[in-house]
């Protein structure tokens, strides 16, 4: 056989293989079947939910046992196709067509399973295709749910319109695997964002990376009076001001509870940081108030945050003593005692959500107002997030504690800021922890972290929210392989929706991380 003939044979063979692979997914529904009135069990659960028109294909696996499978997708306004196989892998072009044609309408899914030579058709389920698009990207931290030890942490941005995930910062770049945390974007854009990284063996090496466009700089972000660096950030929607809390975070471990551990703050305060000038100012040193989780209103005129009051006399004395010292973290013995004492009541620590008006001209905050008085109701309210239209405040509620992701009873709550009505967001509720939520830029979608799948590995769930605050059934972030979430032994942490992909190159981030940090200037007041 000569050279040209060989090439022809190879090309034809490849085409055949491609054709077979490409065509093998499509099929037809059986003509005879037995209908049952139960919904098929599929994984992930994409049954009777509302999906955005620009979401990636929602591939799933049929969990019913059988010899053969067929799945029919049919849009109310047109577009129909049938796929075979237990893993329902929807071709992207077909999926796009289905959603585009049926935007604002719905599509049905019929699942057929063959058992002992006989086909069974399960009850048809219908999914709505919303007219509201979701922001194209979501950024998150990938971290194993280890208790003391986080070996591999990465910050990633995933396109919600495809399966592409880009890891833009990985802690493997130094051998000591520093902790990376608290990524925050200004107004859901990637022009300005920040994240921290810390090395316990070399605190001077860490810092906060500020990204402006395509350039990154590292700052120390250290609060001199606290002796520690800034923690939870909230970038004001406009301007260069970032609100931080400074937190001395600790863990305690439970010997019996399935909760395993509790995370608490020994102390925390609010700080305002000017990213343009690398200056920070402590809002107020409040020894007996633990302020944390700042968040801005969409117009940047109000700062929301959580506050817990330390009630124990012994703890109050300790805190006063520590705060009197030049640097809080300097008095190691007192700090150790405080940490131990706080541990005893960490589970009962409860937060209210407060708000303070912000004066853009003077960069000052007004008097605190109670927004959600959870403490009076015997609960703790955390992670306040106002919807972009300013109508709603979403927050997480639990029986106590500072870190609700470790609380199985943690649920999402919604407060209508227009009427003042507060309710548990039952549509999103599950038997396990539901926490950390972010609104999309239009306010019509919400992403939140949930451990509903197995109680440990956090996954991202999306739900549509209408003008009245009613949410659809949440669905988990789609993956190319339906079993991806079963194989991935990492949690998705701190989901933040963004409307665009990152502009900065990873090399620039590592260059900044490896370089020296600019020392942050502590001032009394931001100018």
């Amino acid at each position: 056989m000569n050279y040209r003939a060989s090439i022809r044979v190879v090309v034809v063979a490849l085409c055949l293989v491609w054709g077979v692979c490409g065509c093998s997914n499509y099929g037809s529904v059986p003509k005879e079947f037995k209908a049952v009135d139960s919904l098929p069990v599929i994984y992930p659960d994409y049954v009777e939910t509302t999906v955005p028109p620009n979401i990636a294909p929602m591939n799933f696996r049929i969990l019913e046992e059988g010899e053969a499978y067929a799945t029919r997708f049919a849009g109310k306004k047109g577009c129909e196709f049938v796929l075979t196989g237990r893993d329902v892998l929807i071709p992207e072009t077909k999926w796009r067509e289905l959603l585009t044609v049926n935007t604002g309408a719905s599509f049905t899914v019929d699942v057929f399973v063959k058992r002992d030579g006989e086909w069974t058709k399960y009850r048809t389920f219908e999914n709505e295709t919303s007219a509201d698009k979701i922001d194209a990207f979501v950024a998150y931290r990938l971290i194993e749910p280890g208790y003391d030890y986080a070996h591999r942490i990465a910050l990633a941005q995933r396109s919600l319109e495809s399966f592409e995930e880009r890891v833009f910062f990985d802690n493997r770049f130094v051998s000591s695997s520093p902790c990376i945390n608290c990524h925050s974007f200004q107004d859901r854009k990637t022009d300005n964002f920040l994240f921290h990284f810390r090395r316990t063996d070399d605190p001077a090496y860490g810092g906060t990376i500020f990204v402006n466009g395509e350039t990154a700089t590292k700052v120390s972000g250290k609060v001199k009076s606290a002796g520690i660096s800034c923690s939870y950030p909230a970038w004001r929607p406009t301007g260069s001001v970032v609100a931080f809390s400074t937190n001395q975070t600790r863990q305690i471990f439970h010997s019996l509870s399935s909760q395993k551990l509790e995370v608490y703050d020994a102390f925390s305060d609010l700080v305002l940081f000017d990213a343009a000038k690398n200056e920070l100012a402590v809002v107020e040193r409040t020894p007996c108030l633990l302020e944390t989780f700042p968040s801005w209103s969409p117009d940047g005129t109000t700062l929301f945050y959580c506050v817990a009051e330390v009630k124990s006399e012994k703890l109050r004395e300790l805190l006063e003593q520590i705060y009197l010292a030049e640097s809080i973290a300097g008095d190691a013995k007192a700090l150790h005692t405080l940490t131990e004492e706080m541990a005893k009541s960490a589970s009962e620590l409860r937060y209210d959500i407060m708000s303070r008006s912000f004066d853009e001209k003077t960069n000052t905050l007004g008097e605190p107002q109670v927004v959600v008085g959870a403490v009076a109701q015997g609960r703790t309210a955390l992670f306040p997030r106002v919807s972009p239209d300013g109508a709603f405040l979403a927050y997480t509620c639990a029986e106590g504690g500072t870190f609700p992701i470790w609380r199985p009873e943690a649920d999402l709550y919604l407060k209508d800021l227009r009427t003042g009505e507060e309710r548990r967001w039952d549509e999103l509720d599950s038997d396990d922890s539901d926490s950390y939520h972010t609104w999309s830029s239009t306010g019509r979608w919400l992403v939140f972290s949930s451990r509903r799948e197995d109680g440990l590995f956090t996954r991202l769930y999306f739900a549509h929210v209408d003008e009245n605050g009613r949410a659809s059934k949440p669905f988990v972030m789609p993956q190319r392989d339906p079993r991806h979430n079963l194989y991935r032994f990492k949690s998705y942490n701190v989901p933040e929706l963004t409307i665009e992909s990152l502009k900065v190159d990873s090399h620039e981030l590592y260059r900044a991380a490896r370089g020296d940090s600019n020392e942050t200037k502590n001032v009394d007041k931001l100018q």
Partner: protein, 768 residues
């Protein structure tokens, strides 16, 4: 064609006509293989088993792509594949021995040494074997568990590829091959790709081509007119490829995934596991590097030998042989009974000399091989505790408590890790209270290094300083033994939350590739009643080759009604009880053990066994929740393993455990407070021996002569043994001699196996 009598490079060995008979080569390699088979399949078989238990392989594309994040990922993946077969140590040993043999054969083929020199081709394999044993207890600190097989696989592959490279006739093609090889294989094997290019560089640098038709011993290669010219272009090109390509990959792909310093060592040396200054690092890194360097040096030598004229070589050897023969002859002529010497012909003499040379060479080869094997044996990490720990941890996963205790009894100087395992085994055998003080609690150092040794070392006596230094270095390694399956041990004490915490930490460190951690997590979740997580971990294990049966038995238990009935007993957690109402859980439930077992194709009695043991462990969980900072119970002295405040509401077994833990911690007052009520339940002399002895000891400490005045009647054995001890103790106490090393040794010897010996033992290793 011109001849150059000075620099002739040939592709075959100049010694070919003088090579020892092939049978000798075959036999030495065979003996080496048998030794390595014994070494890995039997001697270090348990160690190899534990290595595979701390590794993982599942046949899934996603699993492979996870590995491919770093340059040596594929190599590690292949290594994990082979390592899984060490589930059967003999099979794992066979694979490992075969790999090492292949390395040796390829090295021998590469360097073409003959005679005694050929024995040095075993050196790289021996070094790799030694390096692997020095990982020792660090297998329990998983980072890249499959590093075990990576080096021999990679070295064998590199040599194999290099052998093919040498067959390429065209120089341009060889350069192209170098470029393509490092481009294609650096992402797969890391360091080993540029290393292959280093060998190629050496090959090119020392290659002066010559074409001599008619000479059957010389292989035809490319012609060049200038025989001494160094192929500069080729050399530079190969250097450039070897350096530039990995750097390019680093900056383009691996920038965020490996450190810059690892560009050229990724795949050879593990980055994170050891303290770089520790003795472990010295041996593991050192011998691995030595293996690689020895290949390079041997090849360098073989290339140098190619430049020596064959004739000159042979003449020199012949002259040496003749000289030896002459000397021998002279000696013979000087003897008293002179024999009539048969005049040999020249040819016959040459043959005789050659034969003698061969025999001598063979003897020397065997001697050298024996030395090398012996050195490998001696230089490998080993001691009694080492083998005991690995055997015991295998028994632990099988819940074979009796074996653990028997193994411990064979070792007079148990280290902490051994004591930890023994304690949990005794508890599950129901003999903790009676047998815990039969043996030293932790004998390390109390015998090997004495107080006198320490004092002399402080006194700057060199020998004792060296002794202390060696002892401390050994301790560095043995301290890690305390991590031997510690997470599972906590679960076996009912401290499942701690076990989960450690297992998850180790699982994270192993980058989600540890069968052992998954098994512990699954076990803990079953005990805790957290079915979703249990199912997740078990489903992952069903994808492995050798642990799927283990997982299926437990999945069957999860689906059985007894699991769901069991979770109703949880007193502390609504979320666990909600499991009962979950519709998917209800759907998965079988009606009986048999049905559940049939569903997974396992034996029902295995499911019953798992159910019984899980329920036993569940009953050992703490009665009340306690929240603590980062504190781990001490498993040697059992401090914190059980909450002493739970004594009054605890069952008999837990009460016994509480009392033993107080005795181990020498907390006499707390012990007595609880022991009085405990001992009342026993008739005369029937209380567990260790507790009875402890009771006597602390009652004596508190009440002096009135120590027997209690409701419990001590056994005659205790009375007979304790009374002389008290007399001796009082005598030495009065003479202020109690703390002296001699009296301490005397008390230890006299009262060995009793609680009071433990109580008065002042050695630093007997303190909590």
């Amino acid at each position: 064609m011109q001849e150059n009598s000075d620099m002739i490079a040939v592709e075959t060995s100049p010694h070919k006509t003088e090579r020892a008979p092939r049978w000798n080569d075959v036999l030495t390699s065979f003996v080496f293989f048998v030794f390595m088979l014994y070494f890995w399949g039997w001697r270090y078989g348990d160690y190899l088993f534990v290595c595979q238990e701390n590794s993982m392989f599942v046949p899934r594309v996603e699993f492979l792509t996870r590995w491919m994040q770093t340059p040596d990922g594929f190599l590690s993946w292949i290594s994990a594949f082979f390592l899984q077969f060490a589930y059967y140590p003999a099979l794992g040993g066979l694979i490992y021995a075969t790999l090492l043999l292949i390395v040796q054969l390829l090295v021998a083929r590469l360097v073409q040494f003959t005679g005694v020199a050929r024995i040095f081709t075993f050196l790289p394999s021996c070094c790799l074997a030694i390096a692997q044993t020095w990982v020792a207890y660090y297998v329990y600190l998983p980072y890249n568990p499959s590093i075990n097989f990576a080096a021999p696989i990679a070295l064998a592959w590199t040599l194999f590829v290099f052998a093919g490279y040498r067959k390429i006739p065209s120089a341009s093609l060889r350069v192209l091959a170098c470029a393509l090889y490092v481009l294609a294989f650096y992402p797969l094997v890391g360091f080993w790709a540029p290393f292959a290019l280093v060998l190629a560089l050496l090959h090119e640098f020392t290659l002066a081509e010559r074409k001599t038709p008619g000479d059957s011993n010389v292989r035809e290669v490319e012609t060049t007119s200038k025989m001494k010219r160094v192929p500069v272009f080729r050399v530079v090109a190969i250097i450039v490829f070897a350096v530039i390509v990995p750097c390019a990959y680093y900056h383009g792909v691996y920038y965020s995934r490996i450190c810059r310093v690892n560009i050229f060592v990724q795949g050879l040396l593990e980055d994170v596991r050891y303290d770089k200054n520790s003795i472990t690092a010295v041996f593991v890194y050192g011998f691995t590097i030595l293996a690689v360097c020895s290949v390079f040096i041997m090849y360098l030598i073989s290339r140098w030998l190619l430049f020596v004229k064959r004739d000159e070589q042979s003449r020199r050897q012949q002259r040496r042989a003749e000289k030896r023969a002459t000397i021998k002859e002279q000696r013979r002529t000087n003897t008293k009974h002179k024999k009539e010497e048969i005049k040999e012909s020249d040819e016959a003499r040459a043959i005789r000399l050659e034969k003698e040379l061969r025999v001598r060479s063979a003897r020397l080869s065997w001697a050298t091989l024996a030395i090398m094997i012996g050195a490998t044996f001696l230089a490998s990490y080993h001691n009694k505790s080492f083998f005991q720990i690995f055997k015991s941890t295998r028994a632990l996963t099988r819940q074979d408590w009796q074996t653990i205790v028997e193994l411990d009894e064979q070792n007079p100087f148990p280290i902490d890790g051994a004591t930890m395992l023994r304690n949990v085994a005794l508890y599950h055998l129901g003999r903790l209270g009676s047998d815990v003080f039969n043996r030293p609690i932790a004998g390390l150092g109390t015998i090997e290094v004495t107080q006198e040794d320490y004092l002399r070392s402080v006194d700057n006596q060199s020998y004792y300083q060296l002794k202390m230094w060696l002892f401390n270095k050994r301790r560095e390694v043995e301290e890690v033994a305390n991590r031997a399956l510690i997470e599972l041990v906590y679960c076996y004490w009912g401290q499942t939350n701690i076990g989960v915490r450690l297992a998850m930490n180790n699982y994270v460190a192993a980058e989600d590739r540890s069968t052992s951690c998954l098994m512990t997590l699954a076990t803990a979740m079953l005990i805790n009643g957290e079915d979703k997580l249990a199912r997740r971990y078990l489903n992952e294990l069903t994808q492995t080759l050798f642990y799927r049966e283990w997982a299926k038995v437990r999945l069957a238990y999860l689906d059985s009604p007894r699991f769901y009935e069991g979770v109703r007993d949880f007193r502390n957690d609504d979320s666990i009880s909600r499991v009962i109402d979950d519709s998917r859980a209800r759907r998965a439930r079988a009606a009986s053990f048999e049905e559940a077992a049939n569903k997974y194709g396992v034996a029902a009695d295995l499911v019953v066994e798992v159910a019984a043991f899980t329920e036993k462990l569940r009953s050992m969980r703490p009665l009340h929740n306690k929240s603590t900072l980062r504190v781990f119970p001490n498993l040697v002295f059992l401090a914190g393993v059980v909450d002493v405040d739970e004594f009054d509401e605890a069952d008999a077994a837990r009460q016994e455990l509480i009392l033993v833990s107080l005795l181990l911690q020498k907390k006499g007052e707390q012990f007595l407070k609880r022991a009085d009520s405990y001992m009342k339940k026993f008739s005369a002399g029937t209380a567990p021996k260790g507790i009875e002895q402890g009771y006597a000891t602390w009652r004596y400490q508190t009440y002096d002569k009135a120590w027997q005045e209690c409701e419990y009647k001590f056994s005659q054995e205790t009375l007979d043994q304790f009374a002389p001890f008290i007399d001796f103790f009082k005598e030495q106490h009065a003479a202020n001699m109690l703390a002296t090393p001699q009296i301490q040794d005397a008390m230890r010897n006299y009262c060995r196996g009793t609680y009071w010996a433990f109580a008065v033992d002042d050695s630093v290793y007997n303190h909590y």
